[in-house]
Amino acid sequence: MRAKFLNNKLLVGVMFAALAVVPFVSDSKFLLSMLISIFILAVFGMSYDLLLGFTGIVSFGHAMFFGIGAYSVGILITKTKNPDMLYVGIGIAVVLAAVLALIIGALSLRVKDVYFSMITLAFAELLFIIAEKWSTLTGGNDGIPYIQVPEIFRDRTAFYYIGLAFLIVMYLFLRRVIDSPLGRTLQAIRENEQRVESLGYNVLQYKLVSLVIAGVVAAMAGGMWAILQRYVNTSVLGLDRTIDALLMTIIGGVGTLVGAILGAGVITFAHEWLSSLSTTNPIFERWLMIFGVIYIVIVMFFPKGIIGTIKDKWGARGNKEENIHGTQANQRGESVL
């Protein structure tokens, strides 16, 4: 029982409940905005965890979906000059993300797994360049400024609760996916692809579904991001955005879902803190480098991230299925510690 402590529904419930009372305790606009951005990034990170942590595939183009969400909402609202087009924009983003995920998945999931990382990276770069060059639609390098937002999002506290609700709904949805037969099959693919295939499952289709779900959730997060920032530029599509998702999931804990939420919090607060330190020493301007080093240390020595490592310490036995290093070793029939 104790090993399950951190994934315990109760604990996650307490976390969400604690977040729900924050506006009563503090009315700092800065803190609320920061927490909203953490909620949105956490959803983005969780969608990435579905791929990395639960399906065992490494995408380096996840920003594509986030960016599609942000641009769909931004473009639709500014072109129609109607803030309520937000909802249509998110609908369009979902469809676009699903179609894109299907195309890219069909192209790249058929070949070796490392190809997938490479090809997603190339497609993300392509999308980035399209957004940069197609300036009549996207505003090019200047991006889309002054996005009008619906009335309800102008109130910080209201937005805060919408953001929190968004996070909770997406968390429950992804949890539901992971605990469903589909999710179980995905985790089986992560553990031993050949075996799942020989059992008669169409592995490609399962991976495609995983990619589509992850893409759609990420696109919704992107849409929310556009509303929060009221501004969209090419940075939503860049490799840095994908690296954000990667850092969040790895630091928080791969294959735990909650880890992405924790990771989003850690990254956002630490980024803020390190940026404020940059006046004292220029090395803090390169905060990404500091994160890169932490990331490398975690991948090498704590492959389960914060959540997984705490869980191991807490419980007597580690949960070996949640080890990113285990995948290949398992396939070769070697034991994983």
Binding site: D113, L121, A122, G292, Q328
Partner: protein
């Protein structure tokens, strides 16, 4: 010289630069199954170390040597300390090398700053020559010549020397090579470091060719190299060479006629190859 020939030569020169990165990447992948996402960062480290050495000494040859040594050392360290513990896990390798790419690129910004630096051509290679009554930069010719020399040299090394035979055998079946009493681990390390040195060499050569260097250049060229590898077929040396030339030439022509679509065409080319022949044009399905 007609415009077509001019573009073609420029394309070949660009293709040779891409080839220098892609060759190491492909060899490493073919031999060890490791896709090194830090390869572009090594390329740009080579360029920066070369730039610094060139600035200090004024000697382009020393710049090339320093860049290659830097690349070799970075490659060796990456293989020894970051790849070797994780030969069993592709996921960990991909994640780690991407992290290294991040740290190495940020490291450049830390040392040399994030801005664009001008990289002048050495005096001897400045100016233009006349080909069929039209001027063509000497440096481009130099690039093509150097690229061709490396191509032939590595090809001969792979096919004629004992080391080359070991490497090719290792690509086919590393366990068997190990069983025959050859220390495959050491071959792995050497090939990794050699591939990295090749990329760094490409970095130093590219600097004056592009006229300037900046940290993100590494990632851009790495992407081109990835596309080349998918097109040419991974692990196939000549396939990579032909893929590089193909991508270099298409990119140059597109950059002239439809500049907006230059990268799009390469990605489209890659998508096409993936649909028709997923193992690459010259690859063998394994």
């Amino acid at each position: 010289m007609s415009l077509t020939l001019n573009l073609l030569l420029n394309g070949v020169a660009l293709g040779m630069l891409i080839f220098l990165i892609a060759a190491g990447l492909s060899l490493i992948f073919g031999l060890m199954g490791v896709l090194n996402f830090a390869h572009g960062a090594i390329f740009i480290w080579g360029a920066y170390v070369g730039w610094a050495t060139y600035g200090l000494t004024g000697s382009f040859i020393l710049a090339i040597l320093a860049g290659m040594v830097a690349g070799f050392i970075i490659g060796w360290v990456i293989e020894r300390f970051f790849i070797r513990p994780f030969y069993d896990s592709h996921v960990a390798q991909i994640l780690l090398t991407l992290g290294l790419m991040l740290v190495l690129t940020e490291g450049i910004k830390l040392i040399w700053g994030p801005n664009i630096l001008g990289f002048d051509k050495p005096e001897l290679l400045q100016g233009v020559v006349t080909i069929l009554n039209d001027p063509f930069p000497v440096y481009r010719i130099f690039t093509i010549a150097v690229g061709a020399l490396i191509l032939i040299g590595v090809h001969l090394m792979l096919t004629k020397t004992k080391y080359g035979i070991i490497i090719r055998a290792g690509v086919q079946n590393p366990e068997m090579v190990q069983a025959l009493g050859i220390n495959v681990r050491r071959v792995f390390s050497l090939v990794f470091a050699f591939g990295a040195a090749l990329a760094a060499f490409g970095g130093v050569i590219s600097g004056p060719s592009f006229g300037s260097i900046f940290p993100e250049l590494g990632m851009q060229n790495q992407l081109a190299a990835f596309i080349v590898i998918v097109i040419g077929g991974i692990g196939n040396f000549l396939g990579v060479a032909i893929g590089s030339l193909l991508v270099g030439v298409t990119q140059t022509f597109m950059a002239y006629y439809v500049p907006e679509a230059a990268l799009a065409v390469n990605v489209a080319l890659m998508a096409l190859v993936l649909i028709l022949k997923p193992e690459g044009l010259f690859g063998v399905r394994r």
